[in-house]
């Protein structure tokens, strides 16, 4: 009973933390564009939070730079369980156009486990909202990591 209530609450209000790991800002503004009235991701209970301690879902953008590697790991560890990671943008998925640059580790999944990938450079706000909904569906089916 309690488990079901917790799961229901989790699906109805996924609070997100935006983590920039060296992105060009293209994905970051598209994430914000998904929150504005045109798409209104807030109707799914999505709320942008500043602190990792309050967040359920971490949205990562950008190829992980050498400087951010350790910090990304630390922020991930600070999030309470259960936690989910969504990667927005091609360069976060695989390194993308920055593959081979000396400052880039390449791909968020090399550092922390990832639950959903939203490719695109940058993905449209619709795609980002769709990716979030798919993540929620995955959690509902019991895909809790």
């Amino acid at each position: 009973m309690l488990n079901r209530l917790v799961k229901w609450a989790r699906i109805k209000s996924p609070w997100i933390l935006h983590m920039n790991c060296g992105s060009c800002n293209g994905c970051d503004i598209e994430i914000l564009a998904a929150l504005i009235p045109r798409l209104d991701a807030e109707r799914f209970g999505v709320l942008l939070k500043g602190s990792p301690r309050q967040a359920d879902v971490m949205i990562c953008t950008g190829p992980v730079t050498k400087q951010m590697t350790e910090r990304l790991r630390r922020v991930y560890d600070q999030m309470p369980d259960p936690k989910f990671v969504v990667v927005v943008g091609q360069c976060g998925c695989s390194g993308g156009i920055y593959t081979g640059a000396y400052g880039v580790e390449g791909g968020v999944d090399k550092i922390i486990p990832v639950d959903a990938y939203i490719p695109g450079c940058p993905p449209r706000p619709e795609a980002i909202a769709d990716g979030l909904i798919k993540l929620l569906a995955k959690i509902e089916k019991g895909g809790s990591p």
Partner: protein
Amino acid sequence: MPRVRLPIGPQHPALKEPENFMITLDGEQVVDVDIRIGYTHRGIEKLMESRTYIQNLYLVERICGICSYAHVVNFSQNVEEVLGLTIPPRASYLRTLVLELERLHSHFLWLGVAGHEIGFDTLFMYTWEDREVVQDLLEDISGNRVNYAYNTIGGVRRDLGEEQKKRVLDGMDYLEKRATFYKEVAVNEKTILSRAEGVGILKPEVGKRLAAVGPTIRASGVAVDIRKEDPYASYGDVSFDVITTDSCDVLGRVVVRVLEIFECIKIIRQLMEKLPAGDLVVKAPRKVPEGEAMSHTEAPRGEDFHYLHANGTDKPDRYKVRTPTMANLPAVVEMLKGTFLADVPIIVAAIDPCMGCMDRVLLLKDEEKPGERISWDQLRVYANTWYANRGWLG
């Protein structure tokens, strides 16, 4: 009271991008600021040396996702200068059009972010909703919302039809109405006035000494605008004003940007009226002969400077980028001194920082044996001769 050192960032609720501000506080007052940059440094300049010019078009675009087109125009202008190409007038007009649309979207975006930083989220929702109009136009013209991939070396890749022209003009009518509303809001709304007036003072002489650029220095009454001083693309054919205010504070920066929106609309209307017919692109060879070029544009945030050294192959030998945020950061330190801690986010946001494009690292490999050192005076002489050799100094 003992002084406190307070780190802000790299991950922090008030900052959208990972940067570290080490703030020394005396009570509530900021005494000193130490900025540590480099968290988003990817190494694009070096990466460019291993890619061809055509591939680099797309890499340069991704230096920054907000003022991406200013970077691509700079890069194309550099390569075209070394190749000795002149692009067709229609292509030049279309480049100017997209540059101005980009400025529009960037200023609307900034207005929203500034609203968000002072806790005025309603303004954020309003301006971002209007920004979507510009985004739709950009998508209509180029096919993409953010990184447009509109340029190629020697011209542009897509034409503008009559229908699209009409949609652009309709969009401008709507945006002009909205911008008039924001002008009212910016100078009358108490929420903005009480947070922005007299905050983050940058005196013109300090700004000039620290080489601040763009709306940041224009809000201190210094009329610097590359579009006017060294017209590139088709800015020589259109008339517009350089907006300045004398208030030197955050409110001044809000007002400058809102008034620049009107200038953008004015420019776009003139461009649509005068748009010449003709080709879109001239053929450019794959290999670029030996030579160097420098190009600067007025990005939404200020002067964006690019330098290219070509060596005769299909890849650049050296490429150098200096973005407006890099130029404005020293001024931020001056603005922050003496203000209150609560005003730090809005003062930092007031220069419209784009850390993604300015981050760099410096590695000192051998501190025992420093490389060749050059004094400030020597550098001045070197720069002046370099410019004089190209016939750019009178």
